[in-house]
C-alpha cells in the first residue's frame, strides 16, 4: 500500500518539486507584504523623503510580482501533479478491473468510488505535500524575521501561535466526528430522493405517492436537523477561533507595544511584526493539516490497493498454445459438471446448432461462466476442439468460442457501433447480423443515432436484439447463446430463429434456452435433467420432463 501512495504522488516528480519551490516563494512573498508595509509606514511615511517612499513602493511591487507569479505557476504545477497522479491511479484501477483474468468484480458504484473519489484524494495529496513544504518554509522565515526584530516578541508570537493552533485543533476535532456523521444523514436524504424518483413509475402505479413522500419526509427532516446541528457546531468553532485569534493578537500587540514604548523596537518593525504575527497563523494551520490529510490519503490508497492487488479468478497458462489453428466449426465438450441434483453431466456439442435445455435453473448461468472461463470449477472441465481450455490463452479461447450471457450490455454510441464491436468484417456483415437478430428496424435511420447511456433509449426487446446482432456479427467459430430472445415477442422470435439458423449454418452454435421457437430450428437438442436426453426437439417432446421444461 505504501509504495502505491508514494508512486502515485511521484507520478510527476518535476511538477511536484516545482510546486514546492514556487509555493514556497509565494509564501515568502506573502510574508514580506506586512514587513514592507510596516517599514514603509515607519521609515518612509514617518521620517523619509519621497525617494525613500518610492524605493519601498518599488520593493512592494517587486514583492507582489514575486508572490503572484509564484502562485500562478506553482498552482499550475501542483494541479498537474495532482491530476496526473489521480489519472494514473484511475487507469491502474481500470486495467485491474478489466483484466481478462477477472477477480476484481465488485459493485459498479464501489469501483467507481475507488476510481474517482479515492484516486482524486490520493492525487490531491500531492498538492498537500507542496502546500505543507511551502508553509513550513514560510513559518521558518517568519520566525527568523520576528526573532531578528526582537527575541522576546518572536518567542511570544511563536508560543502564542502554537497555543492558538493547538486549542483550535482541539475544538475542531471535537466537532469533526459529529459533523461527519451528520453529513452522512444529509447525504442519505439525497440518496433517498434519487431512489424514489428512479422508482416513480412503480410508486404511481400502485398509488403509493403518500407513503413514499412520508418516507422521504422522515429522511429529509433528519437531514435538516443534522445540517442545523452541523451549522451550529461550525458556528461555535468559528466563534471559538475568533476568540482565540483575538486573544493571541491582544497579547502580541501588548508585548510589542510595550517593547516599542521602551524604544527597544522601532515603529516600522512593530507594525511589521504585528503583520507577521497575523500572517504566520495561516501557514501554521496548513502544516497542522498535514497529518489528517495523510491519514485520508492513506485510507484511499489502501482501498485502491485492496482492489489492484486482488487475486485473479482464473490463471492464464504461461505456455499456452497460442499458435494452434482451430477448424471453422470446432467441437466443445463439457465433462463432469456437477448440477443441483448432485449428479454430474458430460456432453459434447459439434458443428451445427445445438439446443441445451436445463432442468436446473442455475445451470445456464454456471455453464456460461464456465465456457467463457470467467472462473475455474473444481469439477467441470471444458474442452475446445479436444483441448482443455485451461491450457489456452484467454484471448484465443474467447475469440474462438464467443459466449453471450443472457444480459448483454449496450454501450453509449450508435446502433452501428454497438453491433460492430466484435467484428472487422465491415458494414455488410453488420447489416446481415442486424437483420438476423431482427434488429434492422433500428436501422438505417437510427444506425448513427447515439443511444444514450447504456442504451437508455432502447426498450428491453430492442436491447436484447441489438446484443444478439453484435454476437452474430462476430461470426465466431463457436457461439454460445443464453436465453437470447426472452424479451422478444413470439412472431419476432420465430423470425430470428429462422435467420439465425441460416447465418450459423457452417459454424458451431450452442443455444441454452427453453424457447420452443429456438429449439425447433436446432439440429439437435440436449436435455440436461435428472436423466440426460439427446435428440431433435420433436423427438424430445415425447419425454414428460422435457415437455414440462419447455412449456412455460
Amino acid at each position: 500500500m505504501r509504495p502505491l501512495l508514494r508512486t502515485a504522488v511521484l507520478a510527476r516528480p518535476r511538477d511536484l518539486v516545482t510546486a514546492c519551490v514556487l509555493y514556497g516563494s509565494h509564501q515568502l512573498g506573502e510574508a514580506l507584504v506586512p514587513v514592507i508595509v510596516g517599514v514603509t509606514v515607519g521609515e518612509a511615511i514617518g521620517r523619509g523623503g519621497p525617494a525613500l517612499l518610492a524605493g519601498w513602493l518599488v520593493l512592494l511591487a517587486a514583492d507582489f510580482v514575486l508572490l503572484s507569479l509564484s502562485y500562478r505557476f506553482g498552482a499550475r504545477a501542483s494541479a498537474r501533479a495532482k491530476q496526473f497522479a489521480a489519472h494514473e491511479l484511475r487507469l491502474r484501477i481500470g486495467r485491474r478491473a478489466l483484466d481478462p483474468t477477472g477477480g476484481a468484480d465488485r459493485a459498479p458504484g464501489d469501483l467507481l468510488t475507488r476510481a474517482s473519489a479515492d484516486a482524486d484524494r490520493v492525487g490531491a495529496f500531492a498538492g498537500v505535500i507542496a502546500q505543507t513544504v511551502a508553509s513550513a518554509a514560510a513559518v521558518l522565515v517568519a520566525v527568523v524575521l520576528l526573532l531578528s526584530a526582537s527575541v522576546v516578541l518572536g518567542l511570544a508570537v511563536l508560543a502564542g501561535a502554537v497555543l492558538l493552533l493547538a486549542a483550535a485543533t482541539l475544538v475542531a476535532r471535537r466537532n469533526v466526528a459529529l459533523s461527519h456523521a451528520e453529513q452522512q444523514t444529509a447525504g442519505e436524504a439525497t440518496v433517498a430522493a434519487e431512489d424514489l424518483l428512479r422508482g416513480i413509475r412503480v410508486v404511481k402505479g400502485i398509488g403509493a405517492e403518500e407513503a413514499a413522500l412520508a418516507r422521504y419526509r422522515t429522511r429529509n427532516r433528519a437531514g435538516i436537523t443534522a445540517s442545523r446541528r452541523r451549522a451550529g457546531a461550525e458556528a461555535s468553532v468559528g466563534g471559538v477561533n475568533a476568540l482565540l485569534a483575538g486573544c493571541y493578537f491582544t497579547v502580541v500587540a501588548g508585548v510589542g507595544g510595550a517593547l516599542a514604548l521602551t524604544g527597544a523596537l522601532p515603529i516600522g518593525q512593530l507594525v511589521s511584526a504585528l503583520g507577521l504575527c497575523l500572517f504566520v497563523v495561516g501557514p501554521m494551520r496548513s502544516v497542522a493539516a498535514f497529518a489528517p490529510a495523510l491519514a485520508r490519503a492513506r485510507a484511499s490508497a489502501e482501498r485502491i490497493w485492496a482492489l489492484t492487488s486482488a487475486a485473479p479468478a482464473v490463471i492464464e497458462a504461461a505456455d499456452a498454445g497460442a499458435q494452434r489453428a482451430f477448424p471453422a466449426a470446432p467441437t466443445v465438450g463439457v465433462s463432469e459438471l456437477r448440477v443441483a441434483s448432485g449428479d454430474a453431466v458430460s456432453f459434447s456439442v459439434g458443428p451445427g446448432i445445438t439446443g441445451v435445455v436445463c432442468a436446473d435453473g442455475a445451470l445456464p448461468g454456471r455453464l456460461v461462466e464456465l465456457l467463457a472461463r470467467q472462473l475455474d470449477l473444481a469439477d467441470g472441465r471444458v474442452l475446445l476442439d479436444g483441448v482443455d481450455v485451461r491450457t489456452l490463452p484467454l484471448d484465443v479461447l474467447r475469440r474462438i468460442m464467443l459466449v453471450g450471457a443472457h444480459e448483454q450490455p449496450i454501450f453509449a454510441g450508435t446502433v452501428r457501433e454497438n453491433a460492430g464491436l466484435l467484428t472487422a468484417r465491415g458494414d455488410r456483415a453488420i447489416a446481415d447480423a442486424l437483420r438476423a437478430a431482427h434488429a434492422n428496424e433500428l436501422t438505417p435511420d437510427d444506425a448513427a443515432t447515439p443511444l444514450g447511456d447504456a442504451g437508455a433509449r432502447l426498450s428491453g426487446g430492442q436491447r436484447q436484439r441489438l446484443g444478439l446482432a453484435r454476437l452474430l456479427a462476430a461470426d465466431a467459430p463457436v457461439l454460445v447463446l443464453e436465453n437470447p430472445t426472452t424479451a422478444v415477442d413470439a412472431v419476432t422470435e420465430s423470425i430470428i430463429a429462422g435467420r439465425l439458423q441460416r447465418l450459423r449454418r457452417d459454424r458451431t452454435t450452442m443455444i441454452i434456452t427453453t424457447s420452443p421457437a429456438l429449439l425447433a430450428i436446432c439440429d439437435r437438442v440436449l436435455y440436461l435433467g435428472a436423466e440426460q436426453v439427446d435428440g431433435s426437439h420433436a423427438q424430445l417432446l415425447e419425454t414428460d420432463a422435457y415437455r414440462r421444461a419447455v412449456a412455460r
Binding site: T40, V41, A44, P50, L53, F64, S68, R76, H87, R90, L91, G94, A97, L98, P100, D105, L111, L112, A186, A192, E194, L196, L197, R198, G199, I200, V202, G205, I206, A208, N220, I224, S227, R228, A231, A235, S236, G239, G246, C247, F249, T250, A253, G254, G257, A260, I267, V271, L394, R398, G404, L421, L422, S459, T486, A490, T492, H537, A538, R552
Partner: protein, 586 residues
C-alpha cells in the same frame, strides 16, 4: 424531449424574499450579528494605529491601556457575533431549504406521467439531487461566507473613510480592476467550469459503463476498447481541470494587481496626509492594515459569486418542478368512495405530444373476477393502453370510468386501492424488504407481510436472505435479481388488495423456471379481482376470459381463445408462431 421548466430570475428573487420576510426579526438579527462581527474585525488595525500614535507622542505605558482594552473587547465581541451570525443564518435558511426539498419531491410525484416521460427521468433526478445539493451547500456555506465578507468590505470602506475620506478614495481605486476581473472571470471561467463538470460526468459515465459490464467485457474481449474510453475520458477531464486551474490562477493574478494598486495608493495618500499633518502616522498605519485585511474577504466574495449564481440557477430549476406540477390538489376534494364493480373504457384514444396516435377508439369492460388479456406486437400501444386504464394518463378522447368516475381524478392513495398497475420496470427501493412491501400499506403488520409473501410463493427466498424481511435491499443494500424484484412487486400488489389489477408484461423478462413461479404469483394476485394483463407469452392470454388483439393502437380482434383460434386471424398467427412445437403439448 422537453425538459421541465425553469423558474425565471424574478420568481427566484420572490422566493428568496418570501424566505427572509417570513421571519423578519430573525433576518434582522442575522444582519446585526454579521455587521457586528465585521466591525469587531476593525478593532485590530485601529488599536495598532493608537499604539503607533502613542509611541510617536511618547505617551508612556498608559498609551497601551486603551488599545489593549479595545483589542480584548473586539476579541470577545467578535467571537460572540461570529458565532451568532453563523447559528442564526442556519436557523433562517435551512428550514426553508428543507421544505423546498420536500415540495420538489411532492411536485415530482404529482407530475403527470406524460410530462415525466417527456422530460426524461434524468432531468428530474438531476434536479432533485444535484440542484438540491448545490442549493443546500450554498445555503449552508457560500451564503454565509459571502455575506460576512461583503459586510466586512463595506464596513472597512466606511472605516477607511472615517480615518480620512481620501483613504477610502485610494482604496476604491482597486474596485474597477476587481469589477473587470470578476466580469472576465464569469465570462471566461464559467464555460471552463461547466466543461469541467461535463467532462467529469462523461468520465463517470464511461467508468460506470465499464464497471457495470465486467463479465461481458471479458467474454467479448472488449477490454482494450473499454480501457481506451476510460483513458480518453479521464485525460479529457484532466485537460479541462488544468484549463480551469489556469483560469483560476489568472483570476487571482489580476486580483493581486488590484491589491497592489490599492495598497500602494493608500501608502501614497498616507504619506501625503501625514506630511500635510492632516492625519497622524497611526491613522496611516491603520489605513494600510485595514486595506491589507480586505484581501481575504475580497477573494471570498469574488470566488463565491459564481457558486451563488449557480445555486440561484439551481433554485430556478427546483422551483420549475413545482411550477410544472401545478398547485397541489386538495385530496379531500377527490376522495369520495369508489362504488360499482366495473371498469369501463369508452372510445379511448391517446397521442403523445407531437407524436402519432398510439391508442385509438378502444372499448373495453372489466368486471370483478374477470380477466382480459391484451396481445399484439411491440409498439402496438398495449402499454399505453394499460396506463390509460390505470388512470395514470388522461385519454385525449373517450373516457375511462370506474364506479362512475375517472380513475385519473381519484385521490392518489385511493386510486392505487382501486386499480393497481404493475409494470415490468420493477424498481427495488433502498430499504428493507418490509419497507418495500409497506409502500402499499404503511400500517401492515409483519404477519400480514408474511402472509402476502407466502401467498405469492416468495417466502422461501425472502427467508433465505440474511435478515429475512429486515434485509436491506436495493441501492446500497443487497441486490435483488430481476425475478426477485418482480416477485416482490407482486407480493406488494397483493398487500395493496386492489379491486382491479393491471399487469403490464410483469413476468416477461424472466428465464424459464422463474417465469413459471412468477406466472403462478400473478395468478394469485389476479384471483377475485378484475384484471387486465398484457403479455407476450400467450399462455397467459389463453386462459383469459377475453383476449384483445391490438395492432397500431386499435383492437383488431377480440374474443375467447378458442373463438379467436377458430377465426384464423391475427391471433391465430401469433399463437402458431408462439406455440410452434408446443401445439403437441395441449
Amino acid at each position: 424531449m422537453t425538459p421541465l421548466p425553469v423558474a425565471a430570475g424574478r420568481e427566484v428573487a420572490r422566493y428568496a424574499w418570501r424566505v427572509v420576510s417570513r421571519r423578519p426579526w430573525l433576518t434582522l438579527a442575522v444582519a446585526a450579528a454579521t455587521v457586528a462581527a465585521s466591525v469587531a474585525g476593525l478593532g485590530g488595525p485601529i488599536a495598532v494605529g493608537w499604539i503607533v500614535d502613542g509611541i510617536v507622542s511618547h505617551a508612556g505605558a498608559r498609551a497601551l491601556i486603551a488599545p489593549i482594552a479595545l483589542l480584548a473587547g473586539c476579541a470577545a465581541g467578535g467571537a460572540g457575533a461570529t458565532w451568532a451570525s453563523g447559528a442564526l443564518l442556519a436557523a433562517l435558511v435551512l428550514p426553508p431549504v428543507g421544505g423546498l426539498r420536500e415540495d420538489v419531491i411532492d411536485a415530482a410525484l404529482r407530475l403527470p406521467l406524460d410530462r415525466l416521460e417527456d422530460a426524461g427521468a434524468g432531468d428530474l433526478v438531476s434536479r432533485t439531487t444535484g440542484d438540491v445539493e448545490q442549493v443546500t451547500d450554498a445555503a449552508t456555506g457560500a451564503l454565509g461566507a459571502f455575506l460576512s465578507a461583503a459586510v466586512t468590505i463595506a464596513v472597512t470602506v466606511v472605516g477607511l473613510g472615517s480615518l480620512d475620506w481620501r483613504f477610502a478614495l485610494a482604496g476604491l481605486l482597486a474596485v474597477p480592476i476587481q469589477a473587470w476581473t470578476l466580469r472576465w472571470y464569469l465570462r471566461e471561467a464559467r464555460p471552463i467550469y461547466a466543461a469541467a463538470r461535463a467532462a467529469e460526468g462523461a468520465r463517470t459515465a464511461t467508468l460506470i459503463e465499464a464497471f457495470g459490464a465486467l463479465p461481458a467485457i471479458r467474454a467479448l474481449r472488449l477490454r482494450d476498447r473499454a480501457l481506451g474510453r476510460i483513458t480518453t475520458s479521464s485525460a479529457a477531464a484532466v485537460d479541462v481541470e488544468l484549463a480551469a486551474t489556469r483560469a483560476a490562477t489568472r483570476f487571482y493574478g489580476r486580483l493581486n494587481v488590484a491589491e497592489f494598486v490599492g495598497l500602494g495608493a493608500i501608502l501614497l495618500v498616507g504619506y501625503a496626509l501625514v506630511r500635510g499633518h492632516a492625519v497622524g502616522i497611526g491613522a496611516a498605519t491603520t489605513a494600510a492594515l485595514f486595506f491589507a485585511g480586505l484581501f481575504g474577504p475580497v477573494n471570498t466574495v469574488l470566488a463565491v459569486v459564481d457558486q451563488l449564481q449557480q445555486a440561484a440557477a439551481g433554485l430556478g430549476r427546483l422551483l420549475g418542478v413545482t411550477v410544472a406540477a401545478g398547485p397541489p390538489i386538495d385530496e379531500r376534494e377527490v376522495a369520495g368512495a369508489v362504488a360499482g364493480g366495473e371498469l369501463v373504457a369508452r372510445d379511448v384514444s391517446f397521442r403523445y405530444p407531437g407524436g402519432r396516435t398510439v391508442v385509438e377508439g378502444v372499448n373495453l369492460r372489466i368486471e370483478r373476477g374477470h380477466r382480459i388479456a391484451v396481445v399484439g406486437a411491440t409498439g402496438s400501444g398495449k402499454s399505453t393502453l394499460a396506463t390509460l386504464i390505470a388512470g395514470l394518463r388522461v385519454p385525449e378522447a373517450g373516457t375511462v370510468v370506474l364506479g362512475g368516475r375517472s380513475p385519473a381524478r381519484l385521490a392518489r392513495a385511493r386510486r392505487g386501492r382501486a386499480i393497481a398497475a404493475i409494470s415490468q420496470e420493477a424498481h427495488v427501493f433502498a430499504g428493507t424488504v418490509a419497507d418495500n412491501l409497506r409502500l402499499a400499506d404503511p400500517t401492515a403488520t409483519d404477519a400480514h407481510l408474511r402472509g402476502c409473501l407466502v401467498a405469492v410463493g416468495a417466502d422461501a427466498w425472502v427467508d433465505r436472505l440474511p435478515e429475512g424481511l429486515e434485509t436491506i435491499v436495493g441501492a446500497g443494500g443487497r441486490a435483488l435479481s430481476r425475478h426477485e424484484a418482480q416477485h416482490l412487486a407482486l407480493a406488494r400488489a397483493l398487500l395493496l388488495d386492489p379491486a382491479f389489477v393491471i399487469l403490464d408484461e410483469a413476468t416477461a423478462e424472466a428465464g424459464s423456471g422463474d417465469a413459471r413461479i412468477l406466472d403462478e404469483a400473478a395468478r394469485v394476485v389476479m384471483r377475485g379481482r378484475g384484471a387486465l394483463i398484457i403479455a407476450h407469452r400467450l399462455d397467459q392470454a389463453a386462459s383469459a376470459d377475453e383476449i384483445l388483439v391490438m395492432s397500431e393502437g386499435r383492437i383488431v380482434e377480440r374474443g375467447a381463445h378458442a373463438q379467436l383460434l377458430a377465426a384464423g386471424g391475427g391471433y391465430h398467427r401469433l399463437w402458431s408462431a408462439w406455440a410452434d412445437g408446443r401445439i403437441q403439448l395441449r
